[in-house]
């Protein structure tokens, strides 16, 4: 039995393995940041920590709503926020079906859940994060350790 965190973007449901999510936040306004990378729309401060926010709608090539919630994941030792329209809740499911070939171009999709005759794509947050050079990541980690 596996647990997934179900969320919605543009009235469509998605799920993410519960292991990838640290917490869910409802931050205030997201501050846009200049020179941001692709799909990173800005950052917000949570408990004095600046957290960058990736727009999952942009990642999934969809159009997000005005209201939003942010799922926070810890990837490569760094907490990154993912903007979704609404976090729906925790679901549990046994069978994770593979992604059809026709949507394999979305590297962030890792599988599908069939629930109440509804297909819920499972998104990997780690894969949704824009690729960055390992040196940059290390430098950032070093700076953070200092």
């Amino acid at each position: 039995m596996r647990y997934f965190l179900e969320f919605a973007i543009d009235r469509r449901k998605f799920a993410v393995p519960i292991e990838e999510v640290v917490e869910v936040a409802r931050p205030g306004p997201i501050r846009p940041r200049a020179g941001r990378k692709k799909n990173i729309i800005g950052s917000f401060t949570l408990r004095r920590e600046n957290i960058s926010v990736v727009d999952l709608a942009l990642v999934l090539k969809m159009k997000g709503q005005e209201q939003y919630e942010v799922m926070i994941a810890e990837i490569a030792g760094r907490r990154i926020g993912f903007r979704v329209d609404k976090v729906l809740g925790i679901i549990e499911h046994d069978v994770l079906k593979p992604v059809p070939d026709m949507v394999k171009s979305h590297r962030s999709l890792t599988g599908m859940i069939m629930r109440d005759d509804t297909v819920i794509p499972v998104v990997s947050l780690e894969k949704a994060v824009p690729r960055a050079s390992p040196s940059a990541i290390r430098n950032k980690a070093r700076t953070k350790s200092k």
Binding site: Y3, E19, V21, V24, A25, R26, G89
Partner: protein, 524 residues
């Protein structure tokens, strides 16, 4: 005097008839002649009395004479022819007498009127006829003559009679002529040369005394005529003046009468006008009374309207206060709703945080795996509660929003109603003021109408009194006009009388002058 003469004549002829009847009876068949002879003067007398209504002795004397002559001649002719029947003689005698009488009458009046004026000729005829009758009767009765003899004898007897009458009456004629001359010359008769007898002397003396008395009387008459003349002149002058005055008075009275008639007609016209005014005043009084009743009704209605307006204003004020109170309460309600909303907002925040915390707790529990399952269930329940709480808050918020909306609508409505009530209150106050003004105005009008009614009643009473007075005046004026007309007529009559009196005075004056002239002539 004339009747006396007639009576003497009638008595004389009756005696003559009686005497002649005595002879006729004594002598037999000739009495018819006597009757016819007697019938002649009798018929003449009757004719004169009936036809002329009078008889003159001179006329009768002439008739007697000629009638006697002609009837005697006719009797002689009839006797000579032997017509001795009584009836025929009577008829013939009467007819002959009547015809002769008519002829003689016309002869006297037409042929010799001037001659008969002489009294001496009258006496002559009287005497001559008497002698002729006395001489001819015996001759014609006793002696049967032939016609020629009879006529001749009659003519002779007539001539003798005329001569005797002339001889016997001549002295009287001379004496009367002398007396007439003396009287005419207004002197006494000094002597009568033809007749110097005691009778004539006495007659002359009587005449002289008479003339003397007459002369004295004429003197007195002259003096009186002078006085009469003076008096009559004065009287004439005075009467003329009086006549002029009376004419002026008559003219003035006629003017007064005309004025009185005009005044009477004017007063009658005024009376009619005042009667019309009286009826008009009465009509006005009734109309004013009706207006007074209407005014009182209007006053009552206005007062009722004012009371209703007061009640309406009071109700409007109460309603205004109530709406104000409700509006304030609604404001409080809105404020409380706002507070509730704030609380709900806080609750929503808390619920949202709770939901988020529960979600995170569930995530944390899920990350733990099976060990955290129980915690995950609790977290999920908490999250469900939070979600229900959010839903309830949303429902409450929706309800509060609805309430607020309704309250706001009510508040708006109340505000509008308050404005309307306020307007109604203002209108009620204005209406009340207007009603007060109307009541005051109507009271004023009622008071004025009451005064007018009183004045109209007084005027009507005064007009009635005035009508009575004017009617009395009109009656007096009419009486005055009538009296003036009577006075005018009386003055006119008096003027006419005065004019007649003036003319009489003038005639009297002329008569006095004439009398004076005549007396002056007589005095010479």
């Amino acid at each position: 005097m004339k009747k006396y003469r007639i009576a003497i004549a009638i008595v004389g002829y009756i005696l003559q008839i009686v005497l002649f009847m005595f002879f006729a009876q004594r002598l037999g068949y000739w009495r018819a002649i006597g009757l016819s002879y007697a019938a002649i003067p009798l018929a003449i007398m009757v004719f004169l009395i009936v036809y002329r209504k009078s008889v003159d002795l001179r006329q009768y004397s002439a008739i007697y004479f000629f009638g006697t002559v002609i009837s005697s001649l006719a009797a002689g002719v009839i006797a000579q022819f032997g017509l001795l029947a009584y009836g025929w003689l009577l008829i013939a005698g009467v007819c002959t007498g009547l015809a002769v009488a008519v002829l003689i009458y016309h002869f006297i009046h037409i042929a010799i009127p001037g001659g008969l004026q002489d009294r001496g000729f009258s006496y002559f005829l009287e005497v001559s006829s008497t002698f002729f009758a006395g001489a001819s009767y015996p001759l014609m009765i006793l002696v049967p003559f032939t016609i020629s003899y009879a006529v001749l004898i009659a003519i002779v007897i007539l001539a003798i009679s005329i001569a005797i009458g002339f001889v016997l009456t001549q002295p009287f004629k001379v004496a009367l002529s002398s007396i007439a001359d003396a009287v005419h010359e207004w002197r006494t008769v000094d002597h009568l040369p033809a007749i110097k007898s005691a009778i004539t002397g006495r007659f002359v003396n009587v005449i002289n005394d008479l003339l003397t008395q007459v002369r004295e009387s004429f003197k007195e008459l002259s003096r009186m005529s002078d006085d009469i003349k003076g008096s009559s002149e004065d009287l004439s002058t005075a009467s003329e003046q009086m006549n002029a005055s009376l004419q002026e008075v008559s003219s003035t009275i006629q003017q007064i009468s005309h004025g009185a008639q005009e005044q009477s007609s004017s007063i009658t016209s005024i009376a009619q006008s005042i009667e019309g005014l009286n009826s008009l005043t009465t009509s006005i009084s009734s109309q004013v009374k009706m207006a007074s009743v209407s005014s009182r009704r209007t006053t009552d209605t206005a007062k009722r309207g004012m009371e209703l307006s007061k009640q309406e204003a009071r109700i409007a004020r109460d309603l205004f206060e109530q709406t104000k109170f409700i509006s304030e309460k609604m404001k409080e309600l809105l404020n409380q709703s706002g507070e509730i909303k704030k609380i709900l907002d806080i609750t929503a925040v808390i619920t949202d945080q709770t939901d988020l915390l529960a979600l995170n707790a569930a995530i944390e529990a899920a990350r733990v795996g099976e060990k955290g399952r129980g915690f995950a269930v609790i977290a999920d329940e908490i999250r469900n509660l939070a979600t229900e709480s959010q839903q309830s808050s949303a429902v409450i918020e929706g309800l509060i929003a609805e309430i607020n909306k309704t309250v706001q609508e009510l508040s708006d409505l109340l505000s509008s109603e308050r404005e309307k009530v306020n307007d109604a209150n203002a209108l009620a106050a204005q209406s009340q003021e207007q009603f007060i003004g109307i009541v005051k105005a109507v009271d004023l009008v009622t008071d004025m109408i009451s005064r007018i009614s009183q004045a109209a009643t007084n005027q009507s009473n005064n007009t009635r009194d005035l009508v009575k007075q004017v009617e009395q005046i009109a009656q007096v004026a009419a009486d005055t006009a009538a009296a003036t007309q009577e006075v005018s007529a009386s003055v006119q009559e008096q003027t006419a009388s005065m004019q007649e009196f003036t003319s009489t005075a003038q005639i009297l004056s002329q008569f006095a002058m004439h009398l004076q002239t005549l007396v002056t002539k007589l005095k010479r």
